[in-house]
Amino acid sequence: MHPVRKQRLYIVLFIVGFASVAIGLMVFALSENINLFYPPSKLANGEAPDNVNIRGGGCVVPGSVERSKTDLGVRFALTDGLAKVPVVFSGILPDLFSEGEAVVVNGKMLAGVFQAEQVLAKHDENYTPPEVADAVGQANAEKGVQHQATCEGMAMSGNKTYK
């Protein structure tokens, strides 16, 4: 074979081999590192696996936020209007975290309690994380409630006082 072609062949073979190894690794790493999203109703009825990194999200139930007197521990409940799930977190909450607002939490389920490692709130006033909007929208559809602003009226979760 002509030396130029031979070199080109080796380079192509090398690139193909390298690329397939790289893609294989990527797909494997991806499958190890994806976090599935669960709405509170699925977290509450135990559909989410225990002790696996997942994402949850919903509205913070007003009046459910309790702070520790000694450290940064905080407990609150998340809801999508169908069910509530308790969340514990130790650390500083984002500025836009507040009762009756949408949040996304990253962490694990352990014995029915969501152990959050990260709490993300929306980043401006007119924004709701799409996961939460979806989850609440679905819950509302199941209950036959017409479309409304996400989290609005969550105050009386369970009572039928939606606008």
Binding site: V4, I15, F18, I23, N35, N53, L72, L93, D95, P129
Partner: protein, 659 residues
Amino acid sequence: MIAELGHITLIIALALSVLLAVIPMWGSYSNNALWMSSSRSLATGMFVFVAISYGCLTINFMESDFTVAYVAATSNSILPWYYKLSAVWGGHEGSFLLWMLMLAGWTFTVACLSRSLPEIIVARVLAVLGFLSIGFLLFMLLTSNPFDRLLPDTPSEGRDLNPLLQDPAFIFHPPILYMGYVGLSVAFAFAVAALLSGRLDSAWARWSRPWATAAWAFLSLGIALGSWWAYYELGWGGWWFWDPVENAVFMPWLVATALIHSLAVTEKRGVFKSWTILLAIFSFSLSLLGTFLVRSGVITSVHAFATDPERGVFILAFLGLVVGGSLLLYAIKAPTIRATATFSWVSRELFLLLNNILLAVLMLTVLLGTLYPLIADAMGLGRISVGPPFFNLFFVPIILTLSLLLGLGAATQWKSTRGERFSNLLLIPAVVSVVMGIVVASLYGENFAWKGALCAALGAWVMSVTFTDWWKKAKAKRGSTIAQLFNMTPSFYSMALAHFGLGVAIIGGGLSSVYSVQKDVRMEPGETVSVAQYDFKFEGMLAVDGANYRADRGQIHVSKDGEFITILGPEKRHYLSGGNMMTEAAIDSNLARDLYVAMGEHLGEGAWGVRIYVKPFVMWIWLGVLFMGLGGFVAAADKRYRSKTKRSNAPQASAISAA
């Protein structure tokens, strides 16, 4: 009135861009010199009208004309003047006008600085840029006109610029980033023009090199500014979050980095031609993809603009047209491209090829991680997210391998290199890097981490290779070595600066990631917390009034071994225009470490949540990128790119004789 003027000038600019896309291109095929030469005046005209339009929007902002919907949404009458000026790009519509201004500006610059190029190439390059302008101007006029009026229900006060954006970095970050982002369109236009002409020689590489390098330098600086801003403004203390929008700008940067290296090979040796073209196409396509991700609302991010499906569809269609069209052209024309030279296994070409492969693989991982949640969502696999561990898993080893190869590559010569060159040039850097690794490891004796030592060693490796290379090159020349040190070509200095910067950034990124200490604590006034040998004493809160906000400022007294260092004043701000609380971190930084304090919430009874970080060498990250960007500008300003001498045939001839 002024808003209408802005609107009309935008429409005129659209008309001019249509002419620019059609007439010079037509002229280049029918060989009509007059039509071809119209390209420069049309490009100038387009730039002038877009600039007037931009000026009109700026006037609307300065006058706080809230009858203009966009001004009402992003400004406020009590906003300081410099934020009014930058609020122009504080939302979707205005930032797109800025984008368009940049594109017109690049087009105009190409028209001005292309006197030494053949007329037919200039005509085609400007026509391609004109075609891109049509797409963006149409997008703006059809889906996101910044001059829409709010009549008759005009609000008496604007909704204010998002407080997150009221920061000096916001004045610089978007324009510089857009300069780079949009600048990639010039390299793209050169690639398409070359494909159309079938003229893919070293001359082509030489013409497009300064443009690609300048865009890359702007992009680097823009990304670094954004990262630094996120670091001090968001109050989380991180400098890179693998947020989809960061990825959207990081991918074109990776490809552009590959492109500037590959262009060097194409210019000097006449190989990798079709690969270089492909990189030019992809870097711009990825910047369009980024635009789509940011502006269509498909992703969740701090950067995402308000959702509007219509906009997403438009950009997606335009993206399809640009990528599909250019790849089709590539498929038709690329088989005619022939490499004219060969190279041996141990040569600079090979190492630059490895550089390109690694950067391309890294780009693919980022692309996969960014798009996978979208694909999974579209296929009904559920809502998922891909976290930083995935990206870090690839980014860290690839960047470290890249820097190891960089050292080896610096020792090589074009075509082929003999073994003893490596030992000659690399012995000292190897020793320096091992020593550096050991020093860092022993400095952090008790909490030894091999990753920290490795990053320090490789950073030192890259830096010392650069210096040794410089010294040896100067020594090889005649005359005094010291004098020769300052008598190198601009292209050498630019490369050395950029590589040195990479070494600095690796040390900064590695050490700050591995050795940072973070504590989130509850503090009552008078309480002291000790973090990494620094004592932070919380002395209470102070009420402060700013220009358009009220703030609670924490007083944190910092000392080390009883010695006073500084008082940090992190704030919780409440903007008068309403809205939410904002956190302003307080940072004391020097080259060795950053002390970073951000306030959490008031926990009752005078106690506050406080976030404290001690981050060693974190400044080095941005300093390193600054060096890289400077290197890029030195290269782009190199006079040899603008010389009129027809050197285009010389490398070709030598390449043939080499084969």
